[in-house]
Amino acid sequence: MSIGLTLLGLLETGPRHGYDLKRAYDERFGHDRPLHYGQVYSTLSRLLRDGLVEVEGVEAGGGPDRKRYAITGAGVTDVHEWLATPEKPEPYLQNTLYTKVVLALLSGRAAAEVLDVQRSAHLRLMRELTRRKSGGDLADQLICDHALFHLEADLRWLELTTARLNQLAKEIRS
C-alpha cells in the first residue's frame, strides 16, 4: 500500500503536524505495523518536493515537528485518481504450498502431512483473528474479516488438494 498516498488522503481532511499524521495513520490503518517517525518525515519531504503538500505554518523552535503540512491541489488530484483506480487483482499463481506439495510427492515424502500442518497453522491464525474481531469495533471487524476470508480461501484450496493428492501423485510420477 502506498504510504504517501495514504498520508495525502489523511491530509485532505485538514492540515496536520507530522506527529498527528503518524498517529492518525497508526490508529486507522497501522494495526500491527505502526509507521516509524523516519518513514513519516521522509515521505512528507518527498511529497513536499513533488508539490503534493506544502508547509502551512512553522512554529518557533527547531525540529521537524514544528511544521504543519497541508495538501495542495495537485495532491488532491493524486488522491482522487488513486481512489478511482482499481487495485490490480492478485493472480496468486506463485504458490509456495503447491511447490512444497509437488516436491514432497516427487521425493516420496508425506505430502498430506505438508497440507495438514499448513491447515493447522492457518486455523491457529484464524482463531486469533476471530478472537480479536469478537472483542473489536467495526473497523477491527472489517480488517480481520478481510484477512479471514483470504485465509479461508487458502484452506479451501488445501482441502481440495488433499482430496486430489492421489491423482496428483499419479500425474507427477507418470
Binding site: L123, R124, R127, L148, L151, R156
Partner: protein, 235 residues
C-alpha cells in the same frame, strides 16, 4: 442415570472416544476414530464430505452404537448403559444443534425452547420463564410467539441453540449449525453459541466444513476416511 455413577474427577476426560469403528455396509464410516474432550472446550471436527464426521458425532452422543470401540462420558461407557439410561443422559447432559429441521413445527419458539424442560417434568410457568431468558440471550425474544415456519433461518437457528442450552448441558453437539445461514448470521450464531457454552463451562463438539466457523473452536480434529487425527504444531 444418577450423577453418583459418573466420575467428576478433573483428570478424567469429560467425553472420550477410543478406536471407534462403524460400518453401514461394506465400507467403514468410522475406521478407528477417537477424540478426547474436557469441560469448556470447543472442538471443531473437520474433514471432507462423507469422511465420517456426523457418524462420529452420533456415536459420541450415544445416538448410534459403534460396532467396536468405546465412548466414555465421565468415565462411564455409553454402550454399557441401558437404552433408557442413555436417553436420560442425552436429555439431561447433552444438547443438540443440527443444520435444520429440529424444531417442532406445531410449537412456538417459546414452547420449543421450553420443551426439554417440560419433558424433564418442570412446571410450565418455570419452564417458560427460563426459555424466555434463553431467547433473550440469543437475541430472538421477539419471535417467541412465532412457529418455526414463521421465522427466518437465522432466527430459527438461534431458537435451536437456545433449546440446546436451556437444560444446562455439559456437552453440546452441533452438526453444521450454521450450514444454512449466510456468513453474517452464521458468525453471530457461533459467537452466541460459544459465549453461552463458555459461560456454562459446557464442551462443544462442532462439526463443520467451514474454516471461519471452525475458527471459533479451541482446537480441531480432522476426520478422513473414518480416521481422526489431531495435528500438533510446535508453538
Amino acid at each position: 442415570m444418577n450423577a453418583g455413577a459418573l466420575i467428576t474427577d478433573e483428570s478424567v476426560a469429560l467425553l472420550e472416544a477410543i478406536d471407534l469403528r462403524k460400518s453401514f455396509g461394506p465400507t467403514p464410516a468410522l475406521d478407528g476414530a477417537g477424540l478426547r474432550m474436557h469441560a469448556g472446550e470447543v472442538v471443531a471436527v473437520m474433514g471432507p464430505s462423507g469422511s465420517g464426521k456426523s457418524t462420529l458425532l452420533h456415536c459420541l452422543a450415544g445416538i448410534l452404537q459403534p460396532d467396536s470401540g468405546q465412548v466414555l462420558y465421565r468415565g462411564a461407557e455409553l454402550s454399557a448403559m441401558s437404552d433408557g439410561v442413555r436417553s436420560e443422559l442425552r436429555r439431561t447432559e447433552f444438547g443438540f444443534v443440527f443444520q435444520f429441521g429440529q424444531l417442532v413445527p406445531e410449537l412456538t419458539s417459546l414452547e420449543n425452547v421450553a420443551l426439554p424442560l417440560r419433558l424433564g417434568g418442570m412446571r410450565r410457568k418455570e419452564a417458560e420463564s427460563r426459555a424466555t431468558e434463553w431467547l433473550e440471550r440469543l437475541e430472538v425474544a421477539d419471535v417467541a410467539a412465532k412457529r418455526p415456519g414463521e421465522t427466518s433461518g437465522g432466527q430459527g437457528q438461534r431458537v435451536a441453540v437456545a433449546r440446546a442450552l436451556v437444560t444446562g448441558p455439559k456437552v453440546v453437539f452441533a452438526d453444521e449449525p450454521t450450514g444454512a445461514l449466510d456468513s453474517l448470521n452464521g458468525e453471530r450464531v457461533m459467537q452466541l453459541l460459544v459465549a453461552a457454552a463458555k459461560d456454562t463451562n459446557a464442551a462443544v463438539v462442532l462439526v463443520t466444513h467451514e474454516p471461519r466457523v471452525a475458527a471459533y473452536s479451541d482446537r480441531e480434529v480432522v476426520v478422513r476416511d473414518g480416521k481422526s487425527r489431531e495435528v500438533e504444531l510446535a508453538r
